[in-house]
């Protein structure tokens, strides 16, 4: 049995899709793909002696959640995955811990990377090294739009030579990329030149900051509220998860319950106009985002109003599913995608 894993490690909603499941007291079973959640607002915690834990265990850990938790609550015990991905050079072990937190001992692994120019060649080398440290035997980095299309191909019928626009929801805005499909032994995405990053107030980081700032200025007059930084409410609100009250540990070790604020409506028509300009000649458009619910629907609707084609919203697991599809192609020796170099 080969263990195939598709990783979508983005620091907002970390996911993996893999082809096996381990049942306590039983053997590993291969079968239908399983989605493993690595947590929202992904982080890595330090257990001392250069030992790190990532994934859902880190999300639940009290480490780095403030002085109310004692020595383990020190902020240096917790690192955000998105910060590590932004400058991975000195964070290989911690990124490896994040990958291990999603799936262990993978034979073939494909990791999604942003296609907005933010990931340099050097960063790609570092990520591959992190995958090696996570004991991924055969490894590959693939652009998010390609994986989004591979993930979507399982649910939709495609014809060769279609121009497909992919919109990716990024940390600082939205990325656009046009892909075509090339018919060979299998239908393979071909990455076309063009597209790029459109900075927007609807980017994940500005949204997060907005909600977090509302959380840190509630009505009551408690002086030091740095423990609010440990709240999961901002990430839950922006990712469209059901809003729920949360209990937090204050700096003195006591507990308090906080209520989620509402996400205010944010409009950014200029960004959508610019994206529509990029995607004007596409036959269909897909929107890939870690966000669920009304915000994601708004993005889809804004694009749909501006483009005269089908605009489909992909579920957050699509990129990880596409990465899992890519592991199968890689394992079989088939091309995962074709790259079209820009004209000089």
């Amino acid at each position: 049995m080969k263990r195939l894993v598709g990783y979508d490690l983005n620091g907002w909603r970390d996911l993996a899709v893999r082809n096996w499941i381990q049942i306590p007291g039983e053997d590993d079973k291969t079968g239908p793909d399983t989605v493993i959640a690595g947590g929202m607002d992904g982080s890595v915690v330090s257990l001392g002696k250069n030992r790190y834990i990532g994934g859902a265990q880190a999300e639940m850990a009290p480490h780095g959640r403030g002085p109310g938790w004692g020595a383990i609550g020190a902020p240096e015990n917790r690192s955000r995955v998105r910060d590590l991905l932004a400058s991975p050079a000195n964070a290989k072990d911690r990124i490896a811990a994040s990958l291990v937190g999603l799936a262990q001992r993978a034979d073939v692994g494909v990791l999604a990377i942003s296609d907005t120019g933010a990931v340099t060649e050097e960063m790609q080398e570092t990520l591959l090294d992190a995958m090696r440290r996570a004991n991924v035997r055969h490894r590959l980095l693939v652009w998010r739009p390609v994986l989004a299309l591979l993930g979507a191909m399982g649910d939709c019928a495609f014809e060769g030579r279609e121009r497909i626009g992919i919109v990716t929801h990024e940390t600082h805005g939205f990325g656009t990329r046009i892909l075509t499909l090339r018919q060979g032994k299998v239908l393979t995405p071909e990455r076309r030149p063009g597209g790029g990053l459109h900075h927007s107030a609807l980017g994940l980081a500005p949204l997060y900051s907005d909600v977090a700032s509302r959380l840190s200025h509630p009505e009551s007059g408690e002086p030091n509220k740095n423990y609010l930084a440990a709240s999961s409410i901002p990430i839950r609100v922006i990712l469209g998860e059901p809003p729920e009250a949360e209990v937090l540990r204050r700096n003195n070790g006591s507990w308090t319950v906080i209520q989620p604020p509402a996400l205010p409506p944010i409009r950014d028509p200029d960004t959508f106009d610019a994206m529509a300009g990029d995607l004007g000649d596409c036959d269909r458009v897909y929107v890939e985002t870690p966000v669920r619910g009304p915000l994601a629907e708004d993005v889809r609707n804004e694009l749909h109003h501006r483009l005269d084609v089908d605009v489909t919203l992909l579920p957050p697991e699509t990129v990880a599913k596409g990465a899992r599809v890519a592991t199968g192609l890689l394992d079989a020796g088939d091309p995962v995608f074709f790259d079209c170099p820009p004209r000089s």
């Binding site: 381990q22 306590p24 007291g25 257990l47 480490h63 937190g101 209990v247 507990w255 319950v257």
Partner: protein
């Protein structure tokens, strides 16, 4: 160094000479944290007048007795794998090993549950609920090998490797094919002019002959494997008698029979047994069948070594089992939300009986309706003098979110010994120790306690109230009905505890 036969018992000064420890005792000592010179596992530490004191656990001697200090007598010995139990002591030792293996099996299920960390407690709960049904035994290494290695053994039996060994023998002249220097010297020294004359009246001469020989390294490993596998299979079968109708039981029983058959075949072929630590040859690393057998053999040898270590530290495994049981009981409360959980770092092998490490609190639950937070702490570091006085190494900390009062602490004593004790007496003594701890300065924050001990097949529940200190004692096992009843009682206790102390 002070010895405690129970966490709540009076201290006995080992240097002043004490009676030996027996199967009904806990092996707890209190001394300065930095003192050593003997193997121990630290359970708690605290400060007394600026100096660190520690509660430590001593290992069980594998032989069942030790000169000490402290002297140990009458404990079950670690059963030998290759010996069928015949005497009462051997049966008791085998039963103790079976109980230990069951506890370890429940702990190992945590490792598999961690494969999907977001659902770790629900997956562990499902696994433990499956373990309540003894008729369906869990997957074990020997079960896996019985399924995977059996076809390899069939194949090897048919095509076992052999070598042609060259020896010098008196050979009829017509059969001579090869001669070496020694045989030529021999013929040269014989009287006679022709070869026929030198061959004498029997017409034989010294020459090289080749004989088939099966005693190769790879076959010695094969032989050693089937012997060990048959012993491990026997041990597994003894521990799973109640599953005799299951498929896994049948597979292992068949496998044991086949291994015993192969033992006879290999003995007849003159194959010896390899010892552990051999350097594998080309066949063992490159022939698929031999390689699989060799790897399976290494896994069984490693398992035996692990059991040696676990036997000495099984009180540690019991504490971890109890910690998980308490956490699962809180997890199953309808109103409980898991707020935080310390990462569980799984070790590749048990270190002083511990498979995993974790910081404290292990788990934190928010009881939404009751409005309180419950923390589970196992072997907390640097406890208060009041906590040190009751010497429990698992604690629940209950905080009212809206109240201004101090958090309450519930000591959980995890008692491991080789004989069932008198639960009524245990809870009374535990309650008295709790009562004594109340007299230490400060606010009364400890008025409930829980004793968890092994049930030896007969789960019990006892409760006592001594001066407002209420201690409940529960006994449970790690498998079958005894686990099911124990977990039900534990769930009921946790529910009572939450309601009882509700504001």
């Amino acid at each position: 160094m002070n010895l405690f036969r129970r966490p709540w018992a009076s201290p006995e000064d080992i240097s002043a000479g004490i009676g030996s420890l027996g199967p009904g005792d806990c092996f707890l000592v209190e001394e300065a944290a930095e003192d050593g010179g003997h193997p121990y596992a630290q359970l708690l530490d605290w400060q007394v007048d600026g100096r660190k004191r520690a509660l430590k656990l001593l290992p069980y001697p594998k032989a069942g007795h030790a000169k000490g200090p402290p002297a140990v007598e009458g404990l079950p010995f670690r059963p030998k794998t290759n010996v069928d139990p015949k005497t009462t002591q051997e049966y008791e030792a085998a039963a103790a090993l079976g109980r230990m293996n069951q506890v370890v099996a429940r702990l190992m299920e945590l490792e598999a549950a961690l494969d999907d960390p977001e659902k770790v407690w629900s997956r562990l709960l499902e696994a433990w609920q499956r373990a309540e049904n003894e008729e369906n035994p869990r997957m074990a290494e020997i079960v896996r090998q019985a399924r995977d290695i059996l076809p390899r053994l069939h194949s090897l039996e048919k095509g076992i490797r052999r070598v042609l060994r060259r020896t010098r023998e008196m050979t009829p002249l017509s059969r001579v094919q090869e001669m070496d220097r020694a045989s030529m010297l021999w013929i040269a020294r014989q009287p006679g002019r022709t070869l026929a004359e030198r061959a004498g009246s029997r017409q034989r001469m010294l020459a090289i002959v080749r004989h088939e020989n099966f005693d190769t390294l790879e076959n010695r490993v094969l032989h050693a494997y089937v012997v060990l596998a048959a012993d491990v299979a026997r041990e597994w079968i003894q521990e799973h008698q109640s599953a005799s109708t299951s498929t896994r039981y049948r597979i292992v029983a068949d496998y044991r029979r086949y291994c015993r058959h192969l033992m006879r075949v290999f003995s007849d072929l003159g194959i010896g047994r390899a010892g552990p630590g051999i350097t594998p040859n080309y066949v063992l690393t490159d022939n698929r069948d031999y390689r699989m057998v060799y790897n399976a053999w290494l896994r069984l040898i490693r398992r035996e070594r692990e059991i040696d270590d676990l036997w000495a530290w099984q009180a540690q495994s019991w504490t971890d089992f109890c910690t998980l049981a308490v956490t699962l009981s809180l997890f199953t409360l309808d109103e409980a939300d898991l707020v935080a959980q310390s990462p569980v770092l799984w070790n590749s092998e048990a270190i002083t009986g511990r498979w995993f490490e974790q910081d404290n609190p292990l788990a934190v639950f928010w009881l939404r309706e009751t409005g309180r937070i419950v923390e589970v702490q196992a072997r907390p570091k640097t406890v208060s003098s009041r906590q040190a006085a009751v010497r429990a190494h698992v604690w629940l900390r209950i905080t009212d979110i809206k109240g201004d009062g101090m958090p309450r602490r519930i000591p959980v004593w995890t008692i491991h010994c080789f004989q069932p004790g008198d639960m009524t007496a245990e809870v009374q003594q535990a309650a008295r120790s709790l009562q004594m701890a109340q007299q230490i300065r400060g606010v009364n924050i400890m008025k409930n306690g829980l004793v968890l001990s092994q049930a030896f097949g007969s789960p019990q529940v006892e409760e006592t109230d001594a001066g407002g200190c209420i201690v409940r004692g529960l006994s449970l096992d790690a498998v079958g009905d005894s686990l099911a009843r124990g977990m039900r009682e534990l769930g009921a206790y946790v529910q009572d505890l939450v309601l009882e102390t509700a504001p």
